[in-house]
Each structure stands twice: as C-alpha cells, then as structure tokens.
C-alpha cells in the first residue's frame, strides 16, 4: 500500500485552500481526491456573483473564485485525481478510493476532511401526496440548469427562502420560467437581504413568510401545490390553504455536512453542527485527521471557508512535521445565551500560535447587542454588533496573549449580551 503524507478529501474551495496552505508549509507528498470530473466543488454551479469580497476585494462569480484556487494548485503542481470517489476512511487513516483505473488505497500520515455538504432531501419532509416528477432540491435544479443545460420545468414554486432558494428563483426566471412564490416556514427569511431584493423584489416574486407546503398534487407530473399559513408553533392553520398550480417545486430546506467517511473513521461529530468536534487546530478526535469548510459546519461566505481551510492545511502540515498533538482535552469553549454553537469546541492554550478564530452562529436575530467572551468568570472580549442573525456566521479572533495572561482557565464562554 502506498504511504503518503497528506490526503485531502474533496477538491472544492475547502480542499483546494487546505492543499495550497499545506504546500506552502513545505508538504510535497500530498494528493487531492475529488469525485467530480473537475476541481472547484459546488462553486462550479454557483454561477452568480458575490464571492470573494473579503478574500480578493472583488465580486466574483463562483467559477471565477474556484479558478483562483485551481490556478494556485496548478502553479504549484499539487497532484490531484478527479473522477475519484473515496469510499472509506479508516481510523488508522487508510484511504480507500475508486476511479476508472480501479481501486487505490493510501496510508496517510494526515488527512484533511473537505467533503462539503449536501441538501436535506425531499423524502425528509413528509409532504402528503403522490410522488410526481417535478420535485427537486434547489441545488439539483441548479446543477441541471447551470451545468447540464436542462430546464427542470416552467412554472415553479420554491419551498424555503435560504440563499439557494432565492438564487434559484432568479435563475429560473432569467431562463424563462414563472416563479409563483417562495414559501418560508419561519416568520423571517434565512437568506441575505441583498438576495431578497435582487432575486425576489426585482422580479416581483412574492415571499410568503410563515407558510408551508401542505400537499403535493399530481400523479405522474406535478400539477400544483397546496400552501398553508402556519401559526407561532409552525403548525398549519386549517382553512388557510391556497392552491398554486405549478409543474416544478424546488426545495431549499437545509444543508447537512456530508460525514459518512468521518463516521467510518470514528470521528466524533457534534449533533448541533453535524460536523466534527474539533480543537483550535481543527483536528478531530482522531489524531492527524483535520476538518474544514462545509463538512465541519455550513458556511455562508466562501471567503471564510478558504480562511478556515488554510488554517486546517497549515496545521496538518505541522502535524506531519512532527507536532505531537494528542487529540482531546483542551479548554472547552461553551456556547450560551443566544450562541448556537462555536467552532472550535475546545482550545489547547499551549497550541495557539498567533491567534485563534472562534466562528459561531446565533440562534435568533439580535439588534443592538454585544458578543462577549469570558475566560472563567472574567470577560476578556466584547464587541458591539448592530445586528446578529442566524444567517450570518460571526468570527471572534482571540490573540495569543489573552491565553498567556489567563493560564489556569477551565472554561471559555461565548455569549450574546445586551449593550
């Protein structure tokens, strides 16, 4: 079996950034494994713009952003295999993959998990009705339209107002479809305001908040959907049903980190994020196995995926070059009072280099509040935030000196407080 220093599983923005960063730290015996026929990951189908504002100070489309990193991989001659599906990762870091040439197995000194996420499927929703053709997840429709050149249908209803749903509302309209409504269960949209304006308002597409689809109508092909209002407990209100004729329903109802391989490797996962439980170096509970990007926690901005993944790549390189990092332990980072989760979940103060980025999401919309970080009982960081929403991931950067000046800390807390 071939031995290798680093395997990066996934050639999307996370895997590309991690591989480049590892290479920059001196790792040369590395390999990116990508199951699609091209590098670039989900960015290849995200043909809209808005990417790269932080990283490149430009507004790029998804493919352009991906191309920046693909170019870096090519410039450095970093080896990669496309059309190669990783089928298994063992706790001993043996990677088993298959492609047209056959099967390959690699015993890796270090692995970076960068498999991204997938969409919550329609089967999970249990909407009553037959199972006609015409119901797709928004990302599937995006692939059909943007990569394969097919129109999934002409009269569309979209369930879910996350960014993917909003983007597809516009995309389908630009390709000549009629989008009758975007239906959102919650009383607020999960997507960016910019997308509400430029994808819905611009095209006069109604957004029905506090509504859901309660019936799918059509035997062979979708004919229409029944949409109902919901109450404060998100239970459909009898008598509020409205029938909307359509031939296509797109579902934008959540993204799930794709961790089958992580489970196979006995990587500990968080029930809140769906991704690995990691420390400050983004190492999982399995030594030498690191996670980054959407497989770790679902991001909104690819710029932060690149930042996070570069850190994972750097740390994988350190591990390869001899850093003795035993998994586990570390000071726990606790999310409370409005903070839904934090990544990392624990921090070993002795391993902090210049600083640590703590990324997190809030549970609700907060206006005029502060982000606060406590080391045991003492507040060490406070930042006012005009607005905090579940749809925008936040970052707190703690410099090394904060850890040095609080050596006996037993617990780090991140919370939201009123001003």
């Amino acid at each position: 079996m071939r031995e290798i220093e680093l395997v990066v599983i996934g050639g999307g923005p996370a895997g590309l950034a991690a591989a480049v960063a590892a290479w920059e730290e001196g790792v040369r015996d590395l390999l990116i494994l990508e199951r699609e026929e091209s590098l670039g990951g989900i960015l290849n189908q995200c043909i809209h713009n808005g990417f790269g504002l932080h990283m490149f100070k430009e507004e790029l489309t998804g493919p352009e952003y991906a191309q920046r990193y693909i170019d870096q991989v090519h410039e450095r001659n970093i080896p990669y295999l496309c059309g190669t599906m990783v089928l298994d990762l063992s706790p001993g870091r043996v990677v088993t993959a298959v492609n047209r040439e056959g099967m390959l197995q690699l015993k890796a000194k270090s692995v970076v998990l960068a498999m991204g996420c997938r969409e919550r499927p329609k089967g999970a929703l249990n909407i009553p009705g037959d199972r006609p053709v015409g119901v797709y997840t928004a990302g599937t429709a995006q692939k059909f339209v943007n990569l394969d050149g097919y129109m999934p249908g002409r009269k569309v209803v979209i369930l879910g107002s996350g960014d993917i749903g909003l983007i597809m509302a516009r995309r389908m309209t630009l390709e000549g479809a009629e989008v009758s409504a975007v239906v959102e269960l919650m009383p607020y949209s999960g997507g960016l305001t910019r997308n509400i304006v430029q994808c819905l308002d611009d095209y006069d597409i109604p957004l029905k908040l506090s509504h859901t689809v309660t019936r799918v109508v059509g035997r062979d092909r979708l004919e229409g959907v029944e949409v109902s209002a919901v109450d404060e407990n998100r239970v459909p209100i009898a008598g509020s049903e409205e029938y909307i004729p359509c031939d296509t329903m797109l579902l934008s109802v959540g993204l799930l980190p794709e961790n089958e391989l992580s489970r196979a490797a006995a990587v500990e996962l968080s029930p809140v994020t769906g991704g690995a439980v990691v420390g400050e170096s983004l190492q999982t509970n399995i030594e030498g196995v690191f996670a980054c990007g959407n497989v770790l926690h679902v991001h909104d901005l690819v710029d932060f995926v690149s930042e996070e993944s570069a850190a994972a790549g750097r740390h994988a390189a350190r591990y390869i070059h001899g850093a003795a990092w035993h998994a586990g332990d570390g000071v726990p980072v606790v999310a409370e009072n409005g903070v839904r989760y934090t990544v990392p979940f624990q921090i070993h103060p002795g391993r902090v280099e210049e600083s640590v980025d703590i990324r997190f999401r809030v549970e609700n919309v907060y206006r005029g509040h502060c982000i606060a970080v406590y080391f045991d009982g003492e507040r060490v960081f406070r930042r006012k935030a005009r607005i905090l929403t579940p749809g925008e991931m936040e970052t707190v950067t703690l410099p090394r000196k904060v850890f040095e000046s609080h050596p006996q800390t037993r617990k780090i807390t991140v919370r939201i407080e009123k001003e």
Binding site: I47, P63, Q67, H74, L81, N99, Q105
Partner: protein, 144 residues
C-alpha cells in the same frame, strides 16, 4: 414622489424612504449610515444589476454550459432582455476566464464574458491547459 426600498449595503437591511423631486437630489430617510444614502440615490435614479447566466457549449460532453457574466452592471430594466439574447449563442472550448462571449450585448455597451476555464476537449475540465500534469503518473499506477 415617495419610494420605499430596503438597503442592501449591510445586513441591517434598513427600510429607506426616498423623496424624489424633479431636478433635485433625492432625499433619503431611515438610513443608519452614509452607505444607505448613496445606495438609495442610485437605486432610485439609475438602478443597475450584474447579469450572470450560462451559454450553451457546442460539442457538449461532460459540461454542457459555460458560465458567463456581464463585464459591468447593466441597466436593471434591460437585464431580462439581455438574458434572453444569450439563448441562441453557441461557444466552443477552449475558453478562459474573461474571454469575450458577446460584444456589446443588446447595444448596452457592455460585453458578456466567460467566468470559467474550460479545456478544449471539455472532458477533464479540471486539468491544466497543456501542462504536464503530474497526476497522469499517479492515475496510471493505481496501486492496490
């Protein structure tokens, strides 16, 4: 005339009221910062939007469409017209980011440009153009 718009310059999403009068700069209310004023003025007098779409590849194999964008923002009211104009265009690889696909779309003065490198055999789209890609060696020697 009074118009109401949502500002998109930051996640606050301030609800802006804009008073438009002939010959005067629009008055903006409801903003919590300067960015909102500028956004509201432009949005009410000369709204523009970027167009991002796809164009069909001839000889489509694994990839059927080339992603494209307008090289600059278009007048908002002309976006659908320009999107429709792309329907019957066909392009052939090889293509590189920023290659011009359509010059001066619908006489707007704005070009439509490519946003992805697409290799000429359109098969291994992730492979470099004519570079000696070291993965070739690894591919042929899948060790079991």
């Amino acid at each position: 005339m009074i118009r109401h718009i949502t500002c998109i310059r930051c996640p606050m999403g301030c609800y802006l009221t804009v008073r438009l009068e002939e010959g005067k700069e629009p008055d903006v209310f409801g903003n919590q910062c300067r960015l909102g004023v500028q956004y509201a003025r432009t949005e009410c007098t000369n709204p523009t939007r970027m167009l991002t779409s796809t164009v069909r590849l001839e000889n489509a194999r694994q990839l059927a469409m080339a992603p494209v964008k307008s090289a600059a923002p278009l007048p908002k009211h002309r976006v659908m017209e320009c999107a429709r104009a792309l329907k019957n265009i066909r392009v052939r690889p090889p293509l590189r980011v920023s290659d011009i696909i359509v010059e001066n779309i619908c006489n707007t003065g704005v070009d439509i440009i490519c946003t992805r490198d697409i290799a000429d055999n359109n098969e291994r789209a992730g492979m470099a153009f004519g570079q000696n890609n070291p993965t070739q060696k690894v591919r042929k020697r899948n060790e079991v």
